[in-house]
Symmetry: C2
Subunit: 574 residues, 2 copies
């Protein structure tokens, strides 16, 4: 907290106004008790980004969507790719792969339609950009692509409103307060980052604030899936079938018949003690108010007791998932089940399997979930990340079905990886790379290539490992060259900025870094009945769906927005 | 809490969705800690009111504004009217009357411009309406008119959004849930009240929801006052004057000159531990975002240390109020100072007086504050209520400057009062009234006429008092006839409805009553300099400014929305 000491009352009042605006906009997270909420951590100034670069990243998103969808729908590829991982991580990857085999490689009909709500996260590599715009765009390096439970589509649009308010507020206070002066520095010269220039305040630059469309676009995708399901499942006939059945049972009275089921719902599968509920309810609210679609929120524990699978009235379709005996589930939207802790007992896995087997469209399906590309150390994702980096053998043929041009467009956003195996690239090339790493060790890491192949090495431990000679320790020398690859680190810019967190303002002096997440939605599969031989690759929707930015102290590795470490942010296009 | 026992998980989920919507809309109040907020109490269904009646009440509001403004500006009348009260309630009324004399009946120039943000509260008298529409409208009986710190102008518009959401939600759940069925009853036949009919849900009646304009109209009035002040005070010249002065002092450096003062601000004078901050910040936010006007929030305690009165650079004007040495105060908006507890020491009164003496436009000024008509038992307001009921001697000549027609339009909304003094109305009339009261005691109260004249009598105690005969107790018999008047009680309808309060849903079975508050704003006085002889009655703005509805259990007398007893409500025009 670096507030101006000479104006104690006023500084508290500044912060109060900022907090009040968060509360007015619903930028909140659940607190300890069920009623109370606190503000979510948020920056006080938007992040600057050149308009062309933002547009380019937005346009690129449909390719990421396509990459995941194509890879996922190659069920045999996913199964084979994860065979080793499934063995070494039997409790999680193993269970998911088992589900893939049971549902998608078995004999029963399954739901071909799959909905993806993905988020591709980038950081900017600030090494000087060499000339043409294409190169500049490609300096946005992919950190990971998330295919399950991508947060902040609901709340991100609101951050623009918050920043617009803060800018108007600072504009009026401008110059009159040392605290404000401390928060205004000259804009830097390369257009990125956190600094708000005096010009941003003097003139009204709020029109350059880019509101994320995720609050509308993500529910739109969910709504499109509900519609596709209702058509595919011939829901009116199904409902009529069950009405007739109910009329034959003694408990049914004629007056109640028309209301046996609600209209098809989106089932949000949530974690037990979820705090980021505001973000989820923002999507649910939009579904209700704009699309007239009901959402219900349930944990796996609740579903175990209240969900049933009903034989489908239409032949050849997977069973209907029905919650509380009256909510037919059109879409299952997972905001949980991405971590081992979400499955404390076997019952939870059974419920997860029942959902996968049902006729509901899953978001994500198990194949979409597994086809994730992530730098996270979680086993399946690390493996996929590695495979998708293999342009010739995986990215082009599997992820883009042979379309090299598309594959190379994405490839530019991967951090470069270099083999250290002389058999693959030649001894001279290996020594050249090692020299490069030893000159600038801060720009690289050593990454194990295989399951159980050891830990990531960086800094002095990496330098030490690379300096080992054949003569000194042949074993280690060979191990390094066989089992590790060199990966470039993203040299992201470190900025100065302020965040509102835990009820106070925290100044980050040259200590803030930002990650831009681009949302994408894809709905693919066959609209027809789910026979084994029905087409499965039709793309009904593939779209850029908004963005989110999270900024955090550059010197802190762990902790997200909900933990109060990172803060929600917005974009200002320059 | 009357939720359906057979569906435990789902009921909790219903409530969660409602709470989430409150949080998303900023329908919150401050909790114990500075960061946490909880939802504000709110009903689950709007209140029905015939469109013509709402329109009539809206149109009437300018007359209430006029009544208060005319009465208040007759400073001698207010002083004389409150002379007795000021004596018996020296600590509060006495202090305010003293301020009235010092500032408005003294020799110094004072600010002629006054801003009123009033709220006229009504309840509906449900005794059968006799024919023409005019009579129906007049069944809306005035409970009180508030002239200071009228709450909920900021939050009320949002309740319409909340009700629209709840209606859409219930529409989708309709029929499928016993809990919902319990919340839907047939609309009653006279058009008022809480019940939502099945038709309201089946068809989309959200277009009949009337969003209160108070969130825009009240800040508009504050902005109009800032503009009038800036013009009247020739603020640019004043600022230039102080810039020049500052340049002569050694601490001033030329570069900082242009930022010596912020633009003129609205000063919100708040209570020490205010919980209803969301309502206040909603107005401040609108001032900032729509009008580009800065608001600052201060308690009297803070102002005592940080506010100074500066000799005005323009001759003949009261002194400029300056906060923190750089916020020139154009308008003081009191959201406190209405209760004795707001003034723990003499210093607080001194600060209040300094504000009244300053050039800032007060909302309300001491005269506006004192000219309140209220049934509250607070001394000055009770006295004014009584005086303004005197149509011939006060309402027509003072409040409406002789305009009988206007006076009678308002008079219809007063509850009838009857003298028991045989000298005033004749013995026969007195006995007739007493008979009426004894027949239906629940419809009347006995009200003391004078200061310190005893307590309100109702029910069996009233009946007992009226049955006293001359023979049995001459003293009491005479006292009743000299010191009390009979006042009709409002027979408001008692409805069935639900409110969301303290994190749960409370069903009120034939136990909910509602009070409709109509906001009005008036800006009056002379735009010229504040010489003693400048005109003071010019009306620059006089407008209806939205509404608020509060509903509460009919069997609970005390407790407002912030206490969690009453709940914010909205109107559905039928």
């Amino acid at each position: 907290m670096s507030l101006c000491p000479s104006l104690p009352a006023e500084n508290v009042r500044y912060v109060e106004q900022l907090l009040a605006k968060c509360h007015a906009l619903g930028l909140v997270i659940k607190g300890e008790s069920s009623e109370a909420v606190t503000h979510i951590a948020v920056t006080l100034q938007p992040m600057r980004i050149p308009r062309e670069e933002f547009t380019a990243l937005a346009q690129l998103q449909t390719l990421w969507n396509e990459m995941v969808d194509n890879t996922a729908r190659n069920f045999e590829f996913v199964r084979d790719a994860l065979r080793d991982t499934a063995e070494s991580d039997a409790g999680f990857t193993g269970k998911l792969v088992e589900m893939l085999e049971k549902v998608y490689l078995g004999d029963e009909p399954y739901q071909h339609l799959m909905l993806g709500i993905f988020r591709t996260d980038y950081m900017h590599d600030s090494r000087p950009c060499e000339g043409n715009e294409e190169t500049c765009v490609s300096q946005w390096k992919n950190v990971e692509i998330n295919t399950i439970s991508c947060s902040f589509a609901g709340l991100s649009p609101v951050v623009t409103n918050f920043h617009s308010h803060v800018m108007a507020y600072l504009r009026l206070l401008q110059g009159a307060s040392p605290w404000v002066k401390n928060n205004i520095t000259n804009g830097n010269d390369y257009g990125y980052g956190k600094n708000i220039s005096v010009a941003d305040l003097t003139e009204d630059h709020t029109s350059m604030l880019e509101e994320s469309i995720s609050g509308r676009a993500v529910p739109e995708a969910l709504a499109a899936a509900v519609q596709a399901w209702t058509y595919q499942q011939q829901f009116d006939s199904v409902r009529a079938h069950y009405q007739r059945k109910a009329m034959l049972t003694p408990s049914g009275t004629e007056g109640e018949m028309s209301n046996l089921f609600t209209s098809p719902v989106v089932l949000f599968v949530t974690q037990e003690f979820e705090r980021n509920t505001a973000d989820q309810y923002a999507l649910s609210s939009e579904l209700l108010e704009t699309h007239g679609i009901l959402s219900i929120f349930r944990t796996l524990r609740e579903l175990h007791k209240t969900m049933q699978l009903c034989d489908n009235a239409i032949t050849g379709q997977p069973p209907l998932a029905l919650v509380d005996g009256r909510h037919p589930v059109a879409v299952v939207y997972f905001r949980s089940t991405y971590a081992p802790a979400d499955f404390p007992t076997e019952e939870f896995w059974n419920t997860r399997l029942a959902l996968e087997r049902s006729s509901a469209i899953k978001c994500p399906s198990v194949p979409h979930h597994l086809a994730c590309r992530s730098t996270l150390e979680d086993p399946p994702f690390k493996k996929m990340q590695q495979l998708l980096c293999d342009v010739e053998r995986v990215l082009i043929p599997v992820a883009f079905k042979g379309n090299k041009e598309k594959a190379l467009q994405l490839r530019r956003h991967f951090m470069s990886q270099h083999s250290l195996n002389p058999n693959e690239v030649g001894a001279a090339k290996v020594e050249e790379i090692i020299q490069k790493v030893l000159e600038r060790p801060e720009q690289f890491v050593l990454k194990p290539q295989r399951e159980g192949g050891g830990n990531l090495l960086s800094g002095s431990r990496m330098v030490e490992a690379l300096k080992v000679t054949k003569e000194r320790d042949l074993n280690t020398y060979n191990k390094i060259r066989r089992e590790y690859i060199v990966m470039s680190r993203i040299c992201y810019p470190v900025q100065t900025g302020s965040i509102l967190a835990r009820g106070g303002v925290v100044q980050l002096e040259k200590n803030m870094c930002s990650e831009v997440g681009i949302f994408g939605t894809i709905l693919s599969g066959s609209k027809g009945t789910c026979n084994k031989d029905s087409g499965s690759g039709e793309v009904l929707l593939n779209a850029f769906s908004g963005y989110t930015v999270r900024s955090k102290p550059a010197n802190v590795d762990d902790g997200g927005v909900i933990a109060g470490v990172a803060a929600l942010d917005s974009l200002l296009l320059v």
